[in-house]
């Protein structure tokens, strides 16, 4: 398994946030985790990223135990709901940021950044500052900044939550394209049912600090806790009434 999490536990002031989480994920696959606000999604992702330290449990990424490694060494990039672009850097500099940190030669940085800008369809905006970009463009820059360093794992914390419906849909299509193109292994958490189904190769539900991974889509639909069945019934009823 590319990613294996065993018995992961985390508490804050005696409040159990992550309760013995176990999951596995294959390389190049996206695991969608559906969960309501406060179910522990952010804590889960931050623990994998190394931004929080787990109380118990191990995280194995590509056969390496990264449980005690600092975030800098984990090669797991955490993407927030907000794009969090560096306001003092241009689009080009934002995307090239991770490469500059690694002190790669300027010619390679330029080549890789231009290729990424092309992938992101942002070549025309390369020299612009983040403030003049639209919400969707900013989030694309945020993705580009993460993907350019070829991380082993992408951790996406409701990345499209702050976007309007239309931009959100286009970003979902964009992410699917990029995930396929760059062979991304990702954990995508969302509270949006449709988005969870659309984005994930695998589906999971997070509830009260525990994660239940489904073997197939049918099992996800049949579980009343996901709300999927009710959603399908709602649309069926609506069309029947028409």
């Amino acid at each position: 398994m590319f990613l294996a999490i065993h018995h992961l536990c985390k508490s804050f002031d005696n409040n159990v946030i992550l309760d013995n989480i176990q999951l596995t994920l294959n390389q190049g696959q996206t695991l969608s985790i559906l969960g309501k606000s406060g179910c522990g999604k952010t804590t889960f992702l931050k623990t994998i990223a190394g931004l929080l330290r787990q109380d118990q449990g191990t995280i194995i990424l590509e056969h390496n135990d990264i449980s005690t490694q600092p975030p800098q060494q984990r090669e797991a990039v955490y993407i927030y709901q907000q794009p969090l672009l560096f306001p003092h850097l241009s689009v080009y500099e934002n995307i090239a940021f991770g490469l500059h940190l690694r002190k790669i030669s300027p010619s390679v940085i330029r080549e890789k950044t231009m290729a990424m800008l092309d992938d992101l369809e942002l070549v025309a905006h390369a020299q612009k500052m983040p403030e003049v970009l639209s919400g969707g463009q900013r989030q694309r820059v945020s993705f580009g900044r993460a993907l350019i360093i070829a991380p082993k794992l992408l951790l996406l914390d409701e990345p499209f939550g702050a976007l309007d419906t239309e931009t959100r849909t286009s970003m979902q299509v964009f992410f699917k394209k990029m995930a396929k193109q760059h062979q991304i292994t990702a954990i995508f958490v969302t509270h949006d049912l449709k988005e969870a189904v659309l984005m994930g190769d695998n589906l999971a539900l997070m509830e009260r600090g525990q994660i239940h991974v489904y073997d197939h889509l049918e099992a996800f639909i049949q579980d009343s806790r996901t709300g999927m069945n009710q959603e399908i019934k709602f649309w069926k009823t609506l069309f029947r009434n028409d």
Binding site: G50, P70, V77, Y80, Q82, L84, F97, G98, E131, L155
Partner: protein, 256 residues
Amino acid sequence: MKKIVVFLLILVFLSPFAYFIVASVAVNYRFPLLWPEGWTMDNWQQIFRTNNGLFDSVFTSLLISVVTAAVSTSAGFVISKTLAYHTKRSLFNILAYLPYSFSPVIYAYCLYFFFNKSQLSGHIVGVLLAQFILTFPFSIILFLNHWNTELKAVEELTYTLGGSVTQAWRRVIIPMSKSILLLCFFQTFLISWFEYGLTSVIGLGKVHTLTIKVYQYIGESNLGFAALASCLLVFPPLILLWFNRHFMLANNNQYA
């Protein structure tokens, strides 16, 4: 009408400065004379004469203010980060206001014993330390609100992108905080530059800053020198104000 009001306001604001300049070059300019009997540059030429110590006091004031502002800004910036993300953040915020809850002179007398015991009173290092004790809480108050969840998230993001702590500070945190760092340096410089009570008590009159000189000349009824010292007292902050505005605007335009 609006233009007249603006003109009057500018006049009111500038007239004390104009008066300082006039009084510093005036001969026999005493009440009730509306205009001086003559003009002289003698007072200004005195700056570079070693016996009156005016040039030395400008240098001393500049040294104390620049060092105090630089140290309190940098220390305040780093330490406030730890305090801001601490669970007792509000308590630290209240404590930072404590030195401003009573007058600097009373505060100075409270500290005097410790400075005297450590043989720092009457010494420039003692004045520096005393002014730092006054300006440091100010920088803490200023920076506490700067450290917010967004800045923390940006810092964490830098780590997951592979950045070390040093890289995060150098490439992200400091550039993103440039405006507030300049603002804090400017404000703490001003606090230190115009500080009188604490300096006179801890300095025991031996550390001759420009403010001490102004009061000394006023005490001696030396109008020309007092006006000259006041001019010298006002001009560096004006230059710094222009410098600060220039860089702040450049910084803001960069983000626009």
